[in-house]
Amino acid sequence: MDYFAQQAINAIQLGSIYALIALGYSMVYGVLVMINFAHGDVFMVSSFFCLLLLLFLPVPFVAALIIVMLATAILGVAIERLAYRPLRNAPRVSAIITALGCGLIIQNTTLSLSPYSQRMPELFVPVTWNFAGVTVSSLQLLIIGVSVALMVALDFFIRRTRYGMAMRAIAQDRMTVPLMGIPVNTIIAMTFAIGAALGGAAGVLYASAYPVISATMGVLVGWKAFVAAVIGGIGSVRGAVLGAYVLGTVEVFTVTVLPSTYRDLVVYSLLLVILVFKPYGLLGRPAVQKV
């Protein structure tokens, strides 16, 4: 029993981190119908921002989280302004390739500045509790807590504020929305800022949980989060969160009941099965064809 409880905690921790990154993919897709493949590398570089910050200025956890989220948001907006906005009306393939290119530029810039893996200093010393054989650390609770808080705040923002409404409006009809006096460019920049900031939060939490960071780590985690966003229904914010927890749970529990070699096989087979029965993901809605 304690064995399954332990694995459940592992699954929630992993799912929370996937969720924060998956949200970045899903938000941008929802608003621009574009897959921002640079997002995994934005997440990666945010953990390096955190490392730099701590090396020069050992601030407490909350301050580090906020500063890194801001810095990453600025990076996200800059990428949108420089690379994506000029291509907004270009064929979709061009935008996707540009995103891949941006990701590679970020990754290789980081790689040239820091070819070696780096050890992340501890943001705080985690306390470990043992409940009847189940080990829980304060770090795990913090990761889960911060992720859930950010996700709830985002959900509130999108559903209950005017800016959130503007985002949803652009997602529905980008051509008509400017006629209503909504500043499309500002709202799109805001979407990128929020998406990148969540990636930044994920970077800080990830680097605290897995404190050896490298320039190439964004690739695999980015892909997994993208898969999570697709499972949940890309474009749907709640879907991304659901997809991420499904992915984390399936990854961990496959290892629990089967030899660990089957993990990725099971995960990606599941992805296919879900998409066969729910082509738009668990919570996605079919796109309405406009004539």
């Binding site: 332990q6 592992n10 050890r119 897995y210 190439t216 780590m217 529990f253 629990t256 030899p259 660990s260």
Partner: protein
């Protein structure tokens, strides 16, 4: 724009010509195909440093004496990014267009195996300083030794025996768990061989878990291992993955000792792993603490030049360069076939990592291993293991 391109072309054209002009009669080119970027950059850096040290020393003494006079040796260093495909294309490029007489590297088995296939086809000697996987020097289809591929280190079957014996005899462990990267050639081979030899020696493998390259979360596998309650955990994985595994294991309350392969040997493991890897044991090629006189000189020269002690990749690369030079000298000319024939005749070579013995027809040297412990932020020599 066009003007700019024309200007660039006119400037670069003579450079290109100069680059591929007729081979300089007074130098011999040796290629290096190493892991300068990618997941294990510390390996490439050590390899590059050691080779540059070796050939600088050689050239200062006048170079290598061939039938038509003394030649300087120049290195052509290329990065394989620790990727199999790039390693293959680098091999192709070094041999076909750079005109090297022999190639040193790659170091990781994942890179060395495909590179060996190409070197064999193109008939150019390749020596991998650090690849321990048996497949590197064997023909994939027939299983017979390749003609042109050699290595400068012991092989995984030997390493597995050393570790299995050490774990059961010296540490008295009965139950072992294994966690390894199933998508990387060297760890896969080492894990399987360790399982077989440890079981044969009367031990029990209580958990045999895998992950794939790039994973950072091992909590699910480690929770399985915690359930199995092993005495030791064997982690045949590169130095960059070990610290995260060790840390997550300790956070889950696992107290078993970690056991590693030679893939651990970079000092980076101490920097990245800190207290979590302290007390672990691993099998290695070389220890600075039991150095011979030649080795002491190498360690002193290396430390003077680069400000840090050489790790085993550095020492093995130094010996691999020594073997190539030995064969070049014995062959007597700047020619791949002559070098190959001379290399195959080498029976014994005294290097800084110990004595190499080659059996006729095999590219794998017979040499001893050491077991080291990570203790107080340094590698401490524990014991020697003879073949």
């Amino acid at each position: 724009m066009l003007k700019l391109l024309a200007l660039l072309a006119s400037v670069s054209f003579p450079l290109v010509l100069a680059g591929c002009g007729r081979p300089d009669a007074d130098t011999v080119k040796v290629g290096m195909n190493i892991e300068l970027t990618g997941d294990i950059p510390a390996v490439g850096a050590s390899s590059k440093n050691a080779a540059e040290l070796f050939f600088d020393q050689l050239n200062e003494k006048g170079g290598v004496t061939l039938a038509d006079g003394a030649k300087k040796v120049s290195l052509v260093i290329r990065d394989n990014a620790a990727k199999a495909d790039q390693s293959a294309s680098v091999t192709q490029q070094l041999i076909s267009s750079q005109d090297v007489v022999a190639m040193v590297g790659p170091n990781s088995s994942a890179c060395a195996i495909p590179a060996g296939e190409i070197a064999e086809t193109l008939k150019c000697v390749m020596i991998s300083p650090w690849s321990t996987n048996p497949k590197t020097t064997l023909d994939q289809a027939s299983g017979v030794p390749k003609r042109y591929v050699f290595r400068g280190c012991f092989t995984d079957p030997f390493q597995a025996i050393v570790l299995a014996k050490f774990v059961s005899n010296d540490l008295g462990a009965k139950k072992a768990a294994v966690l390894y990267d199933v998508s990387s050639e060297a760890p896969l081979g080492q894990a399987t061989l360790f399982r077989d030899t440890f079981t044969a020696a009367g031990g029990e493998i209580v958990a045999f878990e895998t992950f794939t390259t790039g994973d950072k979360d091992f909590s699910a596998q480690l929770t399985n291992i915690r359930e199995a309650n092993p005495d030791v955990i064997f982690l045949p994985t590169y130095y960059n993955d070990v610290p995260l595994i060790a840390q997550q294991a300790r956070r889950l309350g696992i107290t078993a000792k970690f056991i590693g392969s030679d893939a651990w040997s970079s000092p980076e493991i101490i920097k990245l792993g800190g207290a979590d890897v302290d007390g672990s044991y691993f099998c290695n090629h070389f220890s600075t603490q039991i150095a011979t006189d030649e080795a002491k000189k190498f360690i002193a020269d290396y430390t003077a030049k680069y400000g840090q002690a050489p790790d085993d990749v550095a020492a093995l690369t130094y010996d691999a360069c020594g073997l190539v030079t030995e064969a070049l000298k014995a062959g007597g000319k700047n020619d791949r076939e002559a070098l190959r024939e001379a290399f195959a005749q080498i029976r014994e070579y005294k290097g800084v990592t110990g004595t190499f013995r080659f059996e006729p027809g095999s590219g794998d040297p017979i040499k001893s291993a050491v077991v080291l412990q990570i203790k107080d932020g340094a590698f401490q020599w524990v014991t020697n293991a003879q073949p």
